[in-house]
Structures are given as C-alpha cells and as structure tokens.
Symmetry: C2
Subunit: 243 residues, 2 copies
C-alpha cells in the first residue's frame, strides 16, 4: 500500500502535518508534487486534480490531499483522521478518536490564524500589499489568540487521564506530532512571543522535545525531505510581526 500525498513541493505548510505522520510511521509514500514531471508527478500532477473539469467524483478544494485505497481524501485533519488508525497513530477507542480529531481541528484553526497574521486581507495578495494590516493582526494574534490556544493545548495535556507524556490516550498519536509542528512553526515565526509564552506551558514544550527524539522522526527532521521553514509557508518569520 503506497500512499500518494499531494502538496506544494517547496513549503511545509499544511501538508507537513501529514508528512510527519507518514514519516513517523515509516509508511511507504510518495510526495507527488516533489517528483519529476517526466514521471507523471510534479506540481502539474497536483494541479490536474484541482481542475474543475477533471474526472474525480470527490475533487479536493485545495491541497493537501491523499490518494489511498482508491480514494482521494482532502482536508488535513480529515486525512489524519483517516490515516491515524492505519498508521498506528490513533487511539483505539472511538470516543478518543473523536477527541483526537477535535484537538486536531483546533490545531487547524490555530494554523489558519497563524497564516492570516501575514495575510489578513487576501491569500491571493502578497505580504507587501497588506503589511500595515498584518502588523495589527499579528499583534492581536500574539497578544490574545496565541496565549489562548497554547493554554488550551497545555490543558489538554494536563487532563489526559491515561498519560503524562502524550496528548490522547496512553500512546503517541498524530495529535502529538501536530503539536510538535505547531511549536516548531511558532518558534520559527514568533521567537520573541514564544520566548515569553513557553515557560507557562511546560507540558507542551516537553512534548515538542519528546516527539523530536522519536527515532524515525529525528531521522526525517535531519534529512533533505524536511523542507526548511521559509517565507512562502504558513509559519513565516517577519520580525516586524513578532514585536
């Protein structure tokens, strides 16, 4: 069973949450848009599946999406909800799976708000076309929204009755990998804000380190497959937005 992941080839973005799960599980997968066009891959292969006139009965709205078991599945949290049990990265219990998904959807909300700090007016415009607005939105984000999200994640970790190490149930899940990515991305984009916030969120900080040390994940993070953070992705470092 080879999974086909479709996502932009030059950024971590939302696709990274799926890559982390596939990598941590040692799954057999192809990052299609990073392949060669001569081999039927590349960005062209991704774009073909987004065309309104295509043949797919379940056309995705936007990347990332996953081809698996003859299906085409979109929306990051939905992909992880599908993949989690197959990769051994989801709790066994149905109620816990629902809770894991709820936490993942809240992570998705935070990711959307982090994106909008540099694109508060329009995702199709350049950052330079919305810098004053971005400065205002980023101040609200780091001052109000980010503390609220981090406090909630810390609370999720504190209240897990089954583990003091992992977010959901007694074993690591895709939610832990995603919380690692959130911390990594926020540290890249907002180092000053995070320096101030991290001491109040020790469980989340420890989780980040615990995940980073998982052998397959550590190998991935040190490999060229891990695209560096950059100013085309979701988490961008613009010092003026990290006041």
């Amino acid at each position: 069973m080879r999974y086909e992941l479709y996502y932009w080839p030059s950024i971590q973005g939302r696709g990274e949450f799926v890559r982390l799960a596939l990598e941590d599980a040692g799954a057999d997968y192809v990052d299609i848009a990073r392949g060669r066009e001569e081999d039927g891959m590349g960005v062209a292969a991704l774009m073909r599946l987004l065309e309104p006139g295509g043949a797919e009965s379940h056309p995705p709205f936007a990347p990332p999406f996953l081809r698996a078991e003859g299906r085409l599945i979109g929306q990051t949290a939905n992909i992880l909800h599908f993949l989690g049990p197959r990769l051994g990265l989801a709790p066994r219990d149905e109620a816990d799976r629902c809770w894991a998904h709820q936490v993942q959807l809240t992570i998705a909300d935070l990711v959307g708000e982090a994106h909008d700090t540099h694109h508060p007016i329009g995702s199709g415009l350049y950052y330079d076309e919305q810098r004053p607005e971005a400065a205002r939105r980023a101040a609200d984000f780091t001052g109000n929204r980010l503390p609220k999200y981090l406090g909630w994640f810390e609370n999720v970790l504190a209240r897990n009755p089954d583990s003091s190490e992992w977010a959901i149930g007694g074993e690591p899940s895709y939610v832990d990998l995603s919380l690692f990515q959130v911390v990594a991305g926020l540290r890249y984009a907002f180092p000053r804000a995070m320096e101030g916030l991290e001491p109040a969120h020790p469980r989340l900080v420890a989780l980040h380190q615990r995940v980073a040390r998982r052998p397959r994940l550590a190998a991935y993070l040190a490999s060229p497959r891990r695209i560096p953070f950059n100013e085309s992705g979701i988490f961008r470092h613009y010092p003026e937005l990290d006041a």
Copy 2:
C-alpha cells in the same frame, strides 16, 4: 436520549449548523444557553464548561459543543460527523461519510472566511475598529474566494453519481442542511454579490430551496427558535462590504 447543545443564545453562528441537523431530524434536544439560569442553564452553564479549571477531561476550545452519551464534543464539523449517523443524516458507507466530512470542513473554512470579512484584524475587536481593513478583505472575499467556494460546491453537486438532488450519496444529509445555511447566510450578508453569482450555480440554489421545503425544517425556520440573522453573528449585513 436528550442532546444538550451549547452555543451563544442570540446568534445563529456556527451553532446553527448543529441546530439545523437536530431540527430536521426532530431530535430531542435542549439549547442550553437559551434556557433559564434558575434552571441551571443560560450562558453561565456554557461559560462554566469553558473555564480552564473545570472538571471536564475533554474541555472544548469554543462553542458550539454538544453533550451526548456522556461525552462532550466540540468543533462544528466534528459534532455533525458524530450526530449524522445517529440522526439518519449521514450516508451509510464509510467512504461517503469521510467525503461528507471533507465537504463540511470546507464549508467551515468558508464560514471562517465570511466571519473574517468583518473581523480581519481581531475577533476580540469591534467591527468599527477594523472597518477599512474589513472593506479590503470583503472585496477579496466576494471577488475571489466566494466564487471559488461556490464553484466547488456546485461541482460537488454536479458530480454526485448517486443523486441529482443531494450532495452526498442518494439521501439527504447534514451537508445539504449546511449548504442551505451557507446560501441563506450569504444572501443575508452579501445580497448584491450573491445576485451576481447565483445564476452560475443553479444546483446550489435549487438545493437551498429543496432543503427549505423539508417539513420539519420549514416549521423550524418559521418558528421563534430560528434566531434571525443579525450583526452579532457570522453572516452580517454591512452594505459597505457588499460593493
């Protein structure tokens, strides 16, 4: 089995997507925050469950959330994913349920963007504190994002191999109810933009009408339980944002 819905009592907002499913199914439910504080309900009952120091092991990040079967479930699309099969408003097939959820998550993205047309800078600020930014964001929304979303929904309807009437599979589902709500909300908030866009999306417009005529839903819409659209909710009518 009585469901307890927790959502702000004076707006449709995100809670309305859950209300529509409960109402269409004729489910036994209580809209807790609309109840009386003397009876242990009201907004205070909602706020108690959002407090960081509360006793819940699965604390929600924000309303809406649902108490059912001894569980507390948050995130609108997740609530519907849970409720759909129980209310007879989800497809039977697992792959179709995953697809329904994917469409619902894309609806959630649209709802978030519709909200941000009047709150592009901060959800904790007043509209009056972000009017120039709102005008810019709304122009991008109605000019670029809204046509993209509506085109995708139309495409979802056009490609359903099992029905020319409903979005997913051969029977009505919570996705149809949510698409109804999207059209209703957009018509309220952006009547001029929608007037221009609707002719190109006949399936979506017909679906809105088809849903509105379902007997239990029609009774609900005509009842005082349906809170009118207003300028505190997600879909707000500010004529200057509908240029």
